[in-house]
């Protein structure tokens, strides 16, 4: 048995901690378990490293159905839903797509629970002109099996395919121009939704960037509408994307949302889930390793042994087939803004961990899943968006890493793409990135070409491909992180060319990556490991 494995079997000892979520590595601390794609590394970290854990899951509501009914009957700044319904009216129910939550939750999905209650109320009030539209914006269309899983067999059989379908942002007859904001931002929205007497949005707000006006104004819009804020300058002006009060992205979307509200009657149902990403068999992955029980250690050893015998594709399949155990912790309905504010407050309760000060070096474990690769591969562009886009932005106040500091990513960085889901990513990675990594240049020179490429449009509309412009948005999403971070090092990258093309350094191991980072920021550099998953956000003083 190796030294590392022996250490992993050691019992608990008292630690230097700041609350339950922030732990400092001592001389005899246990190694930490760190996600790296489909693998879980077991790494000794330098003494003094700050390790930040997610908060324990907030207890789920005992009776989610009752909470949803209460929200519908006691909405914020709006009449109860039943009072807004009348026989013969046209109703469109828009639903968040498969990018939320992550990974997909066990069935019944919370959307199914809400829809069952909603459809019951609509039926009781004589409303039968109902369409269910997946608000996928420029995301890939969900497959039939995914759609069925999301709403359950009964609703699927009753509505699919004529009255339950994906929003098609490229349907020439399917979009309506609602107008422009005072700043000239276009707002084009799904025709069925615009021409409905009432739009009910069923939302899962996984992170504070989601929900609110983003639901309708982005979920049901087209390329011309989304490009005005999915651009490098908007993203760079966010501090952070996850703090709506300081996010230019949220500001621009709210302006578009105001146009939506002028033309459409929207009843917003927004939910917050806890962070119970792991079931009882794997919940140790989110906990402090110093406090592992004997059984936790046995489970880890069994998992490590099993994973070591499998190819990456099989590991990916296994991980993606384990649904998350999320539970409903809040549900509000009514007008978009007050509903969203309440949900954000609840999310902050779940995710926000207070940190004292920034670090010179921050370690980001990149897991197997992102919003854009459900049932697929986390390709290099998505590794980039997870690191420089999402994880860098998971803060309020200041980024966890100091300006000009180093970020270490743990991921194999395999050069693999899903031809069916991410065809335009392949061209972006192989044709454009070798020419430039400058987001502005990419945007101005190539974005429209990809967005209007007839093949990519066909693959989006008739297949399950992300829109041709999507890899650009993913690249722009990382602009804030790229501007802020001085160096990115990938620990454990299985090849040299992917990190090189992304503009990152490569290291064989985490230890080597830390040495490289120290040589960049200084030998006495402070180090923080953000223990994702589950989701956690830093409130940095």
């Amino acid at each position: 048995m190796s030294k590392r494995e022996t250490k992993a079997l050691r019992g608990p000892t008292p630690r230097h901690k700041e609350g339950d979520e922030v732990v400092y590595i001592d001389n005899d601390s246990a190694p930490r378990l760190i996600f790296s794609g489909e693998d879980i590394l077991c790494e000794d970290l330098p003494v003094g490293t700050r390790v930040v854990y997610g908060k324990p899951p907030i207890e789920g509501l005992n009776n989610p159905g009752a909470a949803i009914r209460y929200a519908l009957n006691h909405p914020l700044d709006a009449d109860p839903l039943y009072a807004q319904l009348a026989p013969g009216m046209r109703v469109t129910i828009a639903i968040d797509d498969i990018s939320l939550p992550l990974p997909p939750m066990r069935t019944p999905d919370i959307r199914q629970t809400i829809l069952e209650i909603l459809l019951e109320q609509l039926d009781a009030n004589g409303v039968d002109d109902i369409h269910l539209v997946i608000a996928n914006c420029l995301h890939r269309f969900m497959t039939e099996a995914e759609m069925k899983r999301m709403v359950g067999k009964k609703i699927f059989d009753a509505f699919y395919p004529d009255r339950y379908y994906n929003h098609d942002a490229e349907d020439p007859d399917g979009m309506v121009h609602l107008g422009k904001t005072a700043q000239g931002e276009t707002v084009n929205i799904n025709r069925r939704a615009v021409e409905s007497d009432l739009v009910i949005y069923v939302n899962i707000t996984l992170v504070p960037m989601d929900g609110g006006h983003k639901s309708v104004a982005v979920g049901l819009c087209d390329y011309e509408t989304v490009r005005v804020h999915h651009d490098p300058d908007t993203i760079a002006a966010c501090d952070s994307m996850m703090d709506p009060s300081r996010s230019m992205l949220s500001t621009k979307i709210a302006r578009q949302g105001a146009i939506v509200d002028q033309h459409m009657k929207v009843f917003h149902i927004e939910t917050a889930l806890n962070n119970r990403m792991f079931g009882s068999a794997t919940d140790f992955l989110g906990r402090n390793e110093d406090e592992f029980s004997e059984f936790d250690r046995l489970k880890y050893e069994a998992m490590r042994f099993g994973l070591s015998k499998l190819p990456a594709a099989a590991k990916r399949k296994i991980f993606q087939n384990i649904p998350a155990e999320y539970e409903l912790i809040a549900c509000y309905a009514g007008k978009t803004d007050p509903v969203h504010d309440r949900i954000i407050a609840k999310l902050n309760d779940q995710y926000m961990v207070s940190l004292k000060g920034q670090s010179d070096i921050v370690i980001f474990p990149i897991p197997f899943v992102s919003p854009y690769n459900i049932n697929s591969i986390l390709n290099p562009i998505l590794v980039q968006v997870m690191a420089m886009g999402y994880f860098h932005s998971f803060y309020r106040g200041k980024p966890v890493v100091r300006k000009g500091g180093a970020v270490i990513l743990c991921h194999p960085c395999y050069d693999e793409f899903d031809h069916k889901f991410h065809p335009s990513y392949i061209e972006f990675f192989n044709r454009l990135l070798p020419e430039t990594r400058d987001a502005h240049k990419l945007q101005h020179k190539y974005q429209d070409e990809f967005a209007h490429n007839p093949s990519y449009i066909e693959m989006y509309r008739r297949g399950n491909a992300y829109h041709g412009a999507h890899p650009f948005f993913m690249w722009h999403w990382g602009q804030g992180g790229r501007n802020h971070v001085g160096k990115v090092i990938v620990a454990g990258a299985q090849n040299a060319h992917v990190p090189a093309r992304m503009g990152w350094d490569r290291a064989e191991s985490l230890t080597e990556a830390i040495s490289q980072a120290r040589s960049f920021v200084g030998p006495s550099a402070s180090i923080t490991l953000m223990k994702w998953p589950p989701i956690l956000m830093a409130d940095v003083e």
């Binding site: 793409f417 031809h419 392949i426 192989n430 209007h452 093949s455 066909e458 008739r462």
Partner: protein, 220 residues
């Protein structure tokens, strides 16, 4: 610099192929007995056509177009409009219209590059709003088909050669051009442009497209 979208026809924009066109002519011969004989003969030959096409498109052309020998040019041209209305038009893939529309919105010139015979392709090109086209032409002597094609015979590498010459003549930048085909025999036509796309591909082309990271679309 200007650019174009080059389309193969059979199997790419519509589900018919050369054999459908020939079978329609065979079925509409003058005289019932002649129609039955020609139709049966065509049916019997289908496996041979498929085998020839699998190995080499030029071999297929040699064997297949011999079947036209003795056909009247007037009659073939007369039947072409009927053939289009009754057989080809209903067989156009639904996605083909949208693909061409989007492509035209990009300002691309729409060009058909097909091994089909001119008189069968012309009505379809008109219907789809194709700007330019190159097809195969049967050789006629004294108003009767000889069973041979006039050179250059549009197939495989010849299509790519024609596209190169066409692009040079028309001032098109091939690296900005698009090309669409369903068949492995059109690999040269796909390889010569900057934006190749496999459409409803057969097994071999699908694998090739995956290896080259080309988009794969389904217009059916």
């Amino acid at each position: 610099m200007a650019a174009a979208a080059f389309y193969d026809l059979d199997g790419t924009l519509c589900r018919t192929n050369l054999v459908h066109a020939f079978a329609y002519n065979a079925r509409n011969q003058q005289g019932l007995l002649r129609s039955i004989t020609r139709t049966l003969s065509t049916l019997v030959s289908v496996p041979a056509f498929m085998a020839a096409d699998f190995f080499d498109r030029r071999l297929f052309n040699d064997i297949f177009f011999r079947r036209y020998k003795g056909e009247s040019e007037d009659r073939l041209r007369y039947l072409a409009e009927e053939l289009f209305e009754n057989v080809i038009k209903p067989a156009i893939y639904p996605g083909a219209y949208q693909l061409i529309k989007k492509s035209r919105q990009l300002g691309l010139r729409q060009v058909l590059v097909t091994g089909a015979i001119d008189f069968t392709a012309i009505p379809l090109a008109r219907h789809l709003g194709i700007d330019d086209m190159v097809t195969n032409h049967l050789e006629f002597v004294d108003g009767k088909a000889t069973g041979r094609l006039l050179p250059p015979v549009m197939a495989a590498a010849t299509k790519a050669s024609w596209m190169r010459i066409y692009a040079e003549k028309e001032g098109l930048n091939l690296s900005e051009c698009y090309s669409y085909s369903d068949s492995m025999s059109d690999l040269p036509m796909l390889s010569v442009v900057g934006h190749p796309t496999a459409v409803n591909p057969d097994f071999r082309l699908k694998n090739t497209a995956l290896q080259h990271d080309w988009p794969i679309i389904d217009l059916r």
